[in-house]
């Protein structure tokens, strides 16, 4: 079992494709993380300060249900893509715990993943949870193997840098 963190971005899709090419036939959990509304308010400093936000408190459950549903749809879309690419995948969504990295690692432990796959520089339509800072935190704290997949654009940019760096002066 491997775990792929997925936010629906093209870069996260590229990470799935890489994993499929490297490990065809592997059982895969495609994870999309959503953020509970109350959690987002406290994180962004709006809690207890913004009257407009306060008006939505009563709707927190409804908003969380919508967030969870959207996240599960993204995870399922990722799983469909992963299955088409040759993995044996299922989608899973999870509410953000204290941090995205901690949530990813907790799910990895839950499914006993041999490997956590992360794209870098993902830019989802909504909030991306596969950004560089998350990859960094996961790699620094992971109690298991982590595969970091640079986005195609990032890979190309770095490739030309490396070629220049390795040319003797």
């Amino acid at each position: 079992m491997i775990l792929v963190s997925y936010d629906g971005s093209a870069d996260a899709q590229a990470a799935i494709d890489h994993a499929a090419r490297l490990m065809p036939g592997t059982r895969t959990t495609v994870l999309t993380i959503w953020e509970p509304y109350i959690n987002m308010l406290s994180r962004t400093g709006s809690l207890g300060m913004d009257l407009g936000a306060a008006a939505f408190y009563g709707d927190a459950d409804r908003m969380d249900t919508a967030s969870r549903t959207a996240a599960q749809a993204t995870a399922d879309e990722g799983a469909t893509r992963a299955t088409a690419a040759g993995l044996v995948a299922e989608g899973r969504c999870e509410g953000r715990d204290v941090s995205v990295a901690a949530t990813i690692l907790a799910v990895a432990a839950d499914v006993d993943a041999a490997l956590v796959v992360l794209g870098t520089r993902g830019r989802g339509a909504v909030t991306s949870f596969v950004l560089g800072s998350v990859s960094h935190a996961v790699v620094q704290h992971a109690d298991r193997a982590v595969l970091v997949v640079p986005s195609p654009a990032l890979a190309e940019e770095r490739h030309s840098h490396l070629r220049r760096a390795s040319v003797p002066a």
């Binding site: 490990m23 065809p24 690692l105 935190a137 992971a142 109690d143 193997a145 595969l147 640079p150």
Partner: protein, 174 residues
């Protein structure tokens, strides 16, 4: 898991002979059974070490640079060969490779990966500063930050265990 894609180029595994490199080799054997792997050991020519660390021209004792470099290359080859033997025993299709570093270890690993068109670079880690630290080693960190291809980082068993204890006890930022 099904058979590895025959068209896949060999995976590049960085090996410095430490416990973490051995863990990385074992993990690759588990994840990609039967895969082709190149076991790379990078060594640094003495002139480069002296330039980097400063004592060049400092009036220190002269050493036989050629002799020192030959010894480093031999040690590196022994290390890569040991790694390849471990990989072969674990069912991988392995060959050793030794490369002298002129631009730093991380750049050398990535330049070699580009030359070989490796689909993946694998590194083991024990954590920076050895026992007690949970952070990633500087070479692994540098490779991830400059990599133009996927990088697999494998913590050795001891680091994994210590991080697991930490994960249960505290919170992870970001």
């Amino acid at each position: 898991m099904s058979a590895v894609d025959a068209a896949l180029r060999p995976v590049l595994v960085g090996c410095d002979g430490s416990a973490d490199a051995r863990a990385a080799i074992d993990h690759v054997a588990e994840l990609l059974p039967g895969a082709g792997v190149t076991i790379l050991t990078v060594w640094e020519p003495l002139a480069g070490t002296l330039m980097r660390t400063g004592p060049m021209g400092g009036g220190g004792q002269w050493v036989d640079v050629e002799k020192a470099d030959a010894a480093s290359a031999v040690t590196a080859l022994a290390c890569a060969t040991d790694g390849a033997e471990r990989a072969t025993a674990a069912g991988l299709d392995a060959r050793p490779l030794v490369v002298a570093s002129h631009d730093g270890v991380a750049v050398t690993i990535l330049a070699t990966a580009a030359d070989l068109d490796a689909p993946l670079v694998v590194l083991g880690t024990r954590g920076r500063g050895g026992v007690g630290s949970l952070l990633l080693g500087s070479v692994s960190q540098s490779v991830i930050h400059h990599a133009d291809r996927p990088v697999l980082v494998v913590p050795d068993a001891d680091l994994a265990r210590r991080r697991q204890e930490r994960l249960h006890a505290t919170t992870v930022p970001a």
